[in-house]
Each structure stands twice: as structure tokens, then as C-alpha cells.
């Protein structure tokens, strides 16, 4: 196994429902190597998104730790977690990935601009990245002019444009028809392998997991090897 980049240990997350407390993550441990595609399979409602959000620092665990390059994400302030995401995280959601009032090019350029890259340079890198996902000519279009598959490709371009350490994808094909889903998944795999990076892919479809080097199954708040 390659060197560990991300290590989660003892993650607990529970929600109160009425007078009952439901544990969604129950002392969950996970290690993500620097260059590997990991798929996390699980039924709907099993807590996959919750886990992914905590790994990405957009949600917090009740207890446990998430270490990235040795730093404990769970100990950081909200602000510092945001700065971590800005630098080191790329994320693809199932729905509502793109900002409707930004053009496709601007959507992809946002992470660069936030990181302080000049708008001109950001636009250039964004255009290059859009080329790589096969949308070279669409930089000036608004997202609502794009098909679902095209929108997801833009989201992938945005997740990778700043060359992040960790890439998380939450059911990126969940909203697409089968063929489009295949294409998007293929693109994700290709780009990840090309840059020698990693990808944590969450999905409820075993077929989607086929691109992964390693498949984990989420059940009862913990991960099992398949």
C-alpha cells in the first residue's frame, strides 16, 4: 500500500431524532493513500455522504480525528478548515454542483481565484482544464445551457483545476443515465491516474465501483473490506 495521505480514526457522528439518538458513524476508521482510487459502497442512508462531508471538512464529527499530512482537521477552526479545502480539496457532488450565475469558465476558475491566482491566469488554466474534460468551447456558456453529463464534467474540472491533494466525489453519476455516467466515471478515473492523485468515490452502485483500486462497504456506521 502506498503512503497514507488521509487518515480518519474513531469517527463518530450521530443525529438526534425525536428522543432517539441515531449513530450514523460508529468509531469509523479509514486510510486513504496518496495515489489510489477508493470506492465506498453503501445503501442509501448508510452514512456515505456524512462521512465524505466530514472528510472534506464541510461537516464535523462528534468525536474522532481526520488527519491529512499529519495535521488534524477536526482540531482546526472553521476558517482554517475552509482554507484547507481551498488548497487541498476537490469535491464533486451529486446535484447542484455549479453556480448558476457564473459561466462554465468562471465556475472552474473559482478555486484558483480564491487561492489568489490572478483572474487572467485563472481563466487560462480554467480553459485548459475544460479542454481536458472535452468542453473547450463552452467556457462562456452558463450552466443551465449544459446537459447533466456536461455539468458533471465541469464539476470534475473544477475539482481538479487547482491540483488538490484529496478529491472527493459523492455519487457523481447518481443523477445521470447509464451511458453518460460511464463517460463521466471514465473521465474521473483517467484524470486521477494521469495526475497520479487519489480519489474517494462514494456510490451505491456496485458497477461504478469497478474503476476503484479498493472497494469498502459502509454498514452499521463502519467500513468493511469487500
Amino acid at each position: 500500500m502506498a503512503a497514507a495521505l488521509l487518515e480518519a480514526s474513531g469517527l463518530v457522528k450521530s443525529y438526534v431524532e425525536g428522543d432517539r439518538r441515531r449513530r450514523i458513524l460508529d468509531e469509523l476508521d479509514l486510510t486513504i493513500p496518496k495515489t489510489e482510487i477508493t470506492a465506498i459502497l453503501g445503501e442509501s442512508g448508510s452514512g456515505k455522504s456524512t462521512l465524505l462531508h466530514i472528510l472534506g471538512g464541510i461537516d464535523t464529527a462528534d468525536s474522532g480525528s481526520v488527519r491529512i499530512d499529519g495535521a488534524d482537521l477536526t482540531r482546526l477552526s472553521e476558517e482554517d478548515r475552509t482554507l484547507f479545502r481551498r488548497r487541498d480539496l476537490g469535491i464533486v457532488f451529486q446535484f447542484f454542483n455549479l453556480l448558476p450565475t457564473l459561466t462554465v469558465g468562471e465556475n472552474v476558475a473559482i478555486p484558483l481565484e480564491l487561492a489568489g491566482v490572478s483572474p487572467a491566469a485563472a481563466a487560462e488554466r480554467s480553459a485548459h482544464m475544460l479542454d481536458r474534460v472535452g468542453l473547450g468551447g463552452r467556457a462562456a456558456s452558463f450552466p443551465d445551457r449544459l446537459s447533466g453529463g456536461e455539468q458533471q464534467r465541469v464539476a470534475i474540472a473544477r475539482a481538479l483545476v487547482h491540483d488538490p491533494a484529496v478529491v472527493l466525489a459523492d455519487e457523481p453519476t447518481g443523477n445521470l443515465d447509464h451511458d453518460t455516467g460511464e463517460t463521466v466515471l471514465g473521465l474521473l478515473e483517467e484524470l486521477t491516474r494521469d495526475r497520479g492523485g487519489n480519489l474517494v468515490l462514494v456510490t451505491h452502485s456496485p458497477a461504478a465501483a469497478a474503476v476503484a483500486d479498493r472497494v469498502l462497504v459502509m454498514r452499521d456506521g463502519v467500513l468493511h473490506h469487500r
Binding site: 464541510i58 476558517e79 453556480l99 480564491l114 487561492a115
Partner: protein
């Protein structure tokens, strides 16, 4: 339903606040207006009593002999009256000199004077007077005490011989303002023996015609009661119409707010409503549900608004009464009873308006197809539709406004209707204009702040279907602020120029005014010679201000010893060259002020029959001059001619021209001190008088400013409520941005920035709107209400402060939504 209200607590609170503020302003202004109106009525009624007609004799009054003749000829229903504003211990009272034997049938409360105890005292004790028990109490006087009364600056002493009791609460309030004496004592006080101010009569039409037919004596006139106060009544009505219009503005802004919020509450629940419809709820039931909700909010808001309105109204009454006192008519009573009608009106308006404003939303909800969850796309579709529809309505309203202004009428109400149509018309252009402005801002903002900068104006355009009403309301309130400020500024500078030309004297002398009303009390006889002998004085001008009767009704006159001073007056029109004016006036021609021209419809060349002691004099109007001293209008006469015409030789004011104008302040003190033994006079250097004019001026507009601020407040609430709704829809966008690395603080900044764009749009649009409004206020409304022409002047201050107001209220409205966005974690936003 209650759960729904609880769930959208902040939205509901805003709606309630909007209704409450709107209702409060309307109720407060109504209470103030009503109170002013009733104070006026009480003042005139209590004094007129049951009289139907009166015989008056112009500035010199009516000889007592006329009254004696009437009595001798068997007319019992006649009573002589001397009426004057006087001051006792700093409190203004109406001195009423009466004939105790004749008066009770006119004014029930004077019956006390005929009672055996007081009758004896009134007729035998010099200076015997009667006060209302409450008034005596508040002055600390008991029967038998003597006290000082100041009549036109001259102090005299009276003895309290009895207390008056009123039969009912209504007269009680009136009697409190009255100081009752016998005619003889009153004559002594006013320094006019053998004369009374008028003779009151109770006549039916036939008797009136008969009496009018008899020769009453030269210079006398028989008029129905109320003729004298007619012009004042008109002016007060115009003033009240102005206030009413402003309060309606606040209500309109409140309506925008309600409409806005109700629509959002429906839009946001569209999915839920769709589900309910799918489950079998009928369109009609949905409609009813929304209406019930609106009524509940309307009721609560109205209740609060009524409470607030009564509280505000109390303050407004003082402002309005002071203004009326200063400018139009002396009111010595005030009426503090709570006008139930005002409350009822406010209640009906509040609840009714809320429901009406909610109707579009209710219809939209009822029309939503079962299970139409496509919120975003239908919302956007409606944004484009909204711009088109609003622009069409705008066009209609603007056309309507044009037509109303083109109507050949001087009606103030029509003027205001036109003003409302035009302003609302521009308000309906807001979506279109905002869209245009935002498109223009994309490029500059991109170069300033990158992609997020470019996104801001796009976001504003996109959320227009939610925010347009709020921006329009804010724009409306701010343009009214600009319009009023420009109008007041123009007014002020016009008056300043006019004062510069009119107040050419260095020191002004007049009898002190009572309750702020322009003084017409005469100067004591010894004052004139004393002034003429003063060292250091180059010349003295004298003026007699009074009211004369004419064929066009009573008119204020200013008879001046130098009516055409150095040709400095500004003339609207002239029949003869300026250099020939003095001669024309000496020969009996007159000048009319512009408001008089507008009020009476006279022009250069018109003839006015002025009552004189030897019968009417037909005076030709040889010029119309600009004048801002009186909105009722003034006739300017030559002093010598006036004295010959009327036999009235009293003077009411003097202006000193000094050899050294720099010594004005010193000279004022010296004159006041020298004349003090004769009469306590207001002696003011030019500069102080000018300052006083402006103080009265600013006071008159104080209430206007308060109303504008309230309207802006309501509008800011509207923006806040719109933003809260928009923010609810845009949570996901911010969730994505946060996931990508936008910090909480940056998100808040983005919200504030976008809201400031909205504020800027409202502010920018308000600039042309406010300017147009000022133009209409100056050239149409003011002209119709007060009859004067104002020079429109532009100042950057109103525009800057309006921009500040727009951005400030936007900032204020943005704070809560920005904090909310920043406080939520990315995952909450994404949900």
C-alpha cells in the same frame, strides 16, 4: 397554519412590522389632522356661538352706536363683541368683551356674566374679568385676585370676579381659552373707546336680507359667520392634504412590503402547496388558506400599528398645531380626545390592505399545479415576465399621470393623484432599470473582484422577481426624500432671496405676537413720534397690517409708507413701469401678492372693491408681486391712501434704516429699552428676524421629514424581508462556494455586496425620480396648495444624503441575512 407562521418567524415579524408602521403613520397623521381641524372648529365655533351673521366694520371696528340703534329698533338677537388674543402669565387667551345682558343667547357659557353676583361686579369694578375655573386654577388665581394681562405688548391689570362653568365637555375645552370681560373693560384694554370688533346676530335668511337692505352705516358689512376665517380654513385644508398625501406614501410603501412578503411565503411553500393539491386540497381552499393567513397578520400588525399611531399622533398633533399657529391661524384650544374614526379608518386600512396585497400571492398559490416542484425555472420565467408586465403597467401609470397634470384644474387632489400615478409609474420601471444597470456593472465588477464580482450583478438580476418590489419601494421612499429635500431647499433659497429684497430695513419693530401668529396688534400711539426722533436713524418706514373687507371677501392688507422701496421687489407682472408705481399707489391703485392672484383668480388690471368709511373704493391691481409671507395673499396699499380710505391711523410695524447698519443689534436694544414704558415690543435686527423666519420655516417641514424617514424605514424592512427570502433559495449556492473554499466571512461580504448593489440601484433610480418629483411638487403641488412660485434650485446635498440613505438601509437590511449565511455550516447550506 399557526405552525407555518411560527416556522417563518422572521418573515412574519417583518410583515407585521410593515403593516404596523404603515398603519401607524396613517393613523398618526389622521389624528393630527383631525385634531387640528377640530381645534380650528372649536376655536371658531366657541367664539361664534349660535351667531349666524355678523356686522363688521373693517380695521377700525364698528361704532357702539350701531349696536344701540339695533337694540332700539327692537332687535334683541344681537350682541357686540370685542375679540383679541392676549397673554396672561405667558399663556395665550382669547379676550372676549361682551354685553352681559345680550350675550348668553349666543354663547351659553357667558350666562355667568349675567348672573346677579358677577353682573354687579362686571358693571362696577373697573377691569372685572371672568375665567374658566380650570384656567383660574392653572394660573393660581382665586376670585378677588388681580392679575396682569398683556394686550399687544401693553400691560394692564384685571380683577377676577367670577368663574365660568361649562355645560358640557365640548364647551369646557373652549371656555378654558377665554378671558371674559364687559365691553367697556375690553375697550379700555384695546384702547378703542366707543368701538367694538363686530356685532353678532342670529338671523334667518329673510331677516338677513332685510337687514342687509337697510343702510347699516357706511363702511359696515353684514356677512354670514365664518366668512372671515374662510381663507384660513382653505389653507389649513391644503396643509392637511399635504400631510395626508405623505401618510399615504408610507402606506403604499407598507403595501409593497406586504405584497412582497406574502408572495415569498407562497413561493417558498409552492412545493408543499403542490403536494397538498395532489393530496386533494382544492384551489379554492388554498386561496382561502392564504387569505386567512394574511388576515391574521393584518390583524396583529394593525393592532400594533394603532397603538403606535396613537403614540405618534400625540407628538404629531403638537407639530401640526404649532405649524398652523405659526403660519395660518391662531388656535388657542387644543382637543386631545381620541378620534375613534381615525382608529377605525386605520384598522380597516390595515387589515384590508394586507388582504388585498396578499391576493396576487393567493391567486398564484391557488393556480400552482399539483406537485409543481420546479421552483427555480418557474421563478426565472416569472422574472422575465415580471419585467415586461411591470414596464407595461409603468407606461400606463405614466400616461395617466400626464393626463392628470394636463387637466385644466387647480385642484390639489387631482395634482396629488397625478403625482402618485407618475411616481408609481417610475416605481414600476424599477425592474427594467435595475436589469439594465446590473448588465452594465458586470464588466467593471469583474475587473475589480474577479468572477465573484461578475456574479454579484447577475445574482441581483436573477433574484429580481423576489427583490424588485422591495427595490421599487426603497426607490420610492428615497426619491420622495430627494424630492422633498429639493423642494424644501428651493423653497428656502427662494425665501432667502425674497427676504434679501424685502427686508431692507436694519431694525424691525412690532407688537409681540401671541402664540406665534403674525402680529396685527397696533403700536402704541407714542411709538411713532419716538421712533422718528431717534438719533442715528436715516429713515423710518411704517406699515399697517390688517384685514379689509372687499367684494372678494376679507383680504389681508399691508399699507406701507413706502410700498415700492427702491424698486427692489420682484414682480410677477406690472401694468405700469416700476418708476410710476409709487404714484399709482398714492392715487389709490394696489399691488396684489402672487398667492392672492392664485387664490382669487385676479390679474393685473382687475378691480377690487375695498370697503372704506365712505363706501367701497374700486382699486385697480397695477402689479402682482412675489411674496412668501402669507399663503392667503396680501394686498399692498399706500399708507396715506389707506388712512384716507379707512380712517384707520394705527400702525402695526416699523422698519428703521440706520445711518450705520452695523449698529443694528445695539440700536434694537436701545429702542426696546426706550419704548418699554409705553409698550413691550419685539425689536429685532434684520438678521434676527430673518433667522426667525427660517425657524418657522423649518418647523413647518419638521413633520414632513419624520414621515419620509418612516417611509424609508418601512422600505428597508421590505428589502430585508426580500433578502431573507432570496437567501433561503441561495443557500445551496453558498454551500458550494463554501465547499470550494470561500470563507464564512467572504460569503457574508458577498451578501452585503450584492445587497449594496440593490441599494445603489434604488438610489441611482431615485435620482431622476426624485428630481422629477421635486419639479412637480414645486410647479404643480405648491402652486395649487399655497399659490406661490418657487425657483427650483439644485443642491448636491439631497442627492448625496439620498444615496447614503439607500446604501445605508441596504447595508442595514443585509446584516441579518449575511450573518445567517455566515453562521451556517457548509453542509447545512447544501442541504
Amino acid at each position: 397554519m399557526l405552525r407555518q407562521i411560527a416556522a417563518n418567524r422572521s418573515q412574519t415579524l417583518l410583515m407585521v412590522a410593515g403593516v404596523a408602521l404603515g398603519v401607524a403613520v396613517v393613523v398618526a397623521v389622521d389624528i393630527a389632522n383631525d385634531s387640528a381641524s377640530r381645534a380650528f372648529q372649536l376655536s371658531t365655533e366657541a367664539i361664534a356661538g349660535r351667531a349666524t351673521h355678523e356686522i363688521s366694520g373693517g380695521p377700525t371696528g364698528v361704532p357702539v352706536e350701531v349696536y344701540r340703534q339695533l337694540r332700539r329698533s327692537g332687535r334683541r338677537d344681537a350682541a357686540p363683541v370685542i375679540q383679541r388674543l392676549v397673554v396672561v402669565e405667558g399663556q395665550p387667551l382669547t379676550l372676549l368683551g361682551i354685553d352681559p345682558f345680550a350675550d348668553a343667547q349666543f354663547r351659553g357659557y357667558t350666562a355667568v356674566a349675567a348672573a346677579a353676583a358677577s353682573l354687579d361686579a362686571l358693571l362696577t369694578v373697573p377691569g372685572a374679568a371672568i375665567l374658566a375655573a380650570a384656567t383660574a386654577d392653572s394660573l393660581g388665581l382665586a376670585v378677588g385676585d388681580d392679575f396682569e394681562v398683556v394686550v399687544g405688548g401693553i400691560s394692564k391689570r384685571l380683577v377676577l370676579v367670577d368663574l365660568a362653568e361649562a355645560a358640557d365637555a365640548r364647551t369646557e375645552r373652549a371656555v378654558r381659552g377665554i378671558l371674559l370681560t364687559d365691553i367697556a373693560s375690553a375697550q379700555e384694554l384695546t384702547g378703542r373707546p366707543q368701538r367694538v370688533d363686530r356685532i353678532d346676530l342670529i338671523l334667518d335668511d329673510a331677516a338677513a336680507a332685510q337687514l342687509a337692505g337697510e343702510t347699516l352705516g357706511r363702511g359696515l358689512r353684514l356677512d354670514p359667520v365664518g366668512t372671515a376665517s374662510g381663507p384660513a380654513r382653505e389653507m389649513i385644508d391644503a396643509f392637511r392634504t399635504n400631510l395626508l398625501a405623505l401618510s399615504l406614501l408610507a402606506l403604499i410603501v407598507g403595501l409593497f412590503l406586504i405584497f412582497n412578503t406574502m408572495t415569498f411565503s407562497v413561493v417558498r411553500r409552492r412545493a408543499g402547496i403542490g403536494t397538498l393539491r395532489a393530496l386533494g386540497m382544492t384551489a379554492r381552499e388554498v386561496f382561502r388558506q392564504i387569505c386567512i393567513e394574511a388576515s391574521a397578520i393584518g390583524l396583529v400588525g394593525t393592532g400594533l400599528g394603532l397603538l403606535l399611531g396613537v403614540a405618534l399622533g400625540r407628538g404629531a398633533v403638537d407639530l401640526v398645531l404649532t405649524t398652523i399657529n405659526d403660519i395660518f391661524f391662531p388656535l388657542t384650544f387644543r382637543d386631545d380626545s381620541l378620534p375613534l374614526l381615525s382608529l377605525a379608518k386605520g384598522a380597516a386600512l390595515g387589515v384590508g390592505a394586507t388582504v388585498v396585497a396578499a391576493l396576487p400571492a393567493a391567486r398564484e398559490a391557488a393556480a400552482s399545479a399539483p406537485r409543481s416542484a420546479m421552483m427555480r425555472s418557474s421563478a426565472e420565467h416569472s422574472a422575465t415576465r415580471l419585467v415586461a408586465a411591470a414596464s407595461r403597467i409603468a407606461l400606463l401609470l405614466l400616461l395617466g399621470g400626464l393626463v392628470l397634470f394636463a387637466l385644466p384644474t387647480r385642484s390639489l387632489v387631482v395634482g396629488f393623484a397625478g403625482l402618485f400615478a407618475a411616481t408609481l409609474g417610475i416605481a414600476f420601471l424599477t425592474p427594467l432599470a435595475t436589469q439594465g444597470l446590473m448588465s452594465a456593472l458586470i464588466a467593471p465588477l469583474r475587473s475589480l473582484a474577479g468572477s465573484l464580482g461578475a456574479a454579484a450583478p447577475r445574482d441581483v438580476s436573477r433574484s429580481l422577481s423576489r427583490t424588485a418590489t422591495a427595490v421599487a419601494a426603497l426607490m420610492l421612499a428615497i426619491s420622495v426624500a430627494i424630492g422633498l429635500q429639493l423642494m424644501i431647499g428651493s423653497f428656502r433659497s427662494t425665501v432667502a432671496v425674497w427676504l434679501e429684497r424685502t427686508l431692507t430695513g436694519d431694525v424691525y419693530i412690532s407688537a409681540p405676537s401671541v402664540g406665534g401668529t403674525a402680529a396685527t396688534d397696533p403700536l402704541a400711539p407714542g411709538v411713532r413720534p419716538a421712533l422718528e426722533q431717534l438719533a442715528g436713524v436715516r429713515s423710518v418706514d411704517f406699515v399697517r397690517s390688517t384685514t379689509v373687507r372687499t367684494d372678494l371677501g376679507p383680504i389681508r392688507v399691508a399699507a406701507s409708507s413706502r410700498p415700492v422701496y427702491r424698486g427692489q421687489r420682484l414682480y410677477h407682472s406690472l401694468a405700469v413701469p416700476v418708476i410710476e408705481l409709487s404714484a399709482a399707489l398714492r392715487a389709490g391703485a394696489v399691488l396684489a401678492s402672487e398667492p392672492l392672484m392664485n387664490r382669487l383668480g385676479i390679474e393685473v388690471g382687475s378691480l377690487i372693491a375695498i370697503d372704506g368709511r365712505d363706501g367701497p373704493h374700486r382699486a385697480e391691481v397695477v402689479g402682482i408681486y412675489y411674496d412668501y409671507a402669507s399663503s392667503q395673499g396680501t394686498l399692498m396699499l399706500d399708507m396715506d391712501f389707506y388712512q384716507r380710505l379707512s380712517g384707520d391711523t394705527q400702525i402695526t410695524g416699523a422698519a428703521l434704516h440706520l445711518e450705520d447698519p452695523g449698529a443694528a443689534a445695539e440700536m434694537s436694544l436701545q429702542v426696546a429699552r426706550a419704548l418699554a414704558p409705553q409698550q413691550a415690543l419685539d425689536v429685532r435686527p434684520n438678521r434676527a428676524l430673518r433667522a426667525e423666519v427660517f425657524a418657522v420655516f423649518d418647523q413647518a417641514f419638521a413633520i414632513t421629514g419624520a414621515l419620509v424617514i418612516l417611509a424609508t424605514l418601512v422600505a428597508a424592512l421590505g428589502v430585508l424581508s426580500a433578502l431573507l427570502a432570496v437567501q433561503l433559495e441561495r443557500g445551496r449556492d453558498f454551500g458550494i462556494l463554501r465547499a470550494v473554499g470561500l470563507t464564512a466571512r467572504q460569503s457574508a461580504r458577498q451578501v452585503v455586496g450584492e445587497t449594496m448593489l440593490l441599494g445603489a440601484a434604488a438610489g441611482l433610480l431615485a435620482i431622476p425620480t426624485g428630481t422629477a418629483l421635486a419639479y412637480l411638487l414645486i410647479h404643480v403641488i405648491n402652486k395649487r396648495a399655497f399659490g406661490w412660485t418657487l425657483q427650483m434650485t439644485f443642491d448636491t446635498e439631497p442627492y448625496l444624503s439620498a444615496m447614503g440613505l439607500a446604501l445605508g438601509s441596504a447595508l442595514l437590511a443585509a446584516l441579518l441575512p449575511a450573518r445567517r449565511i455566515a453562521a451556517r455550516s457548509p453542509v447545512e447550506l447544501l442541504r
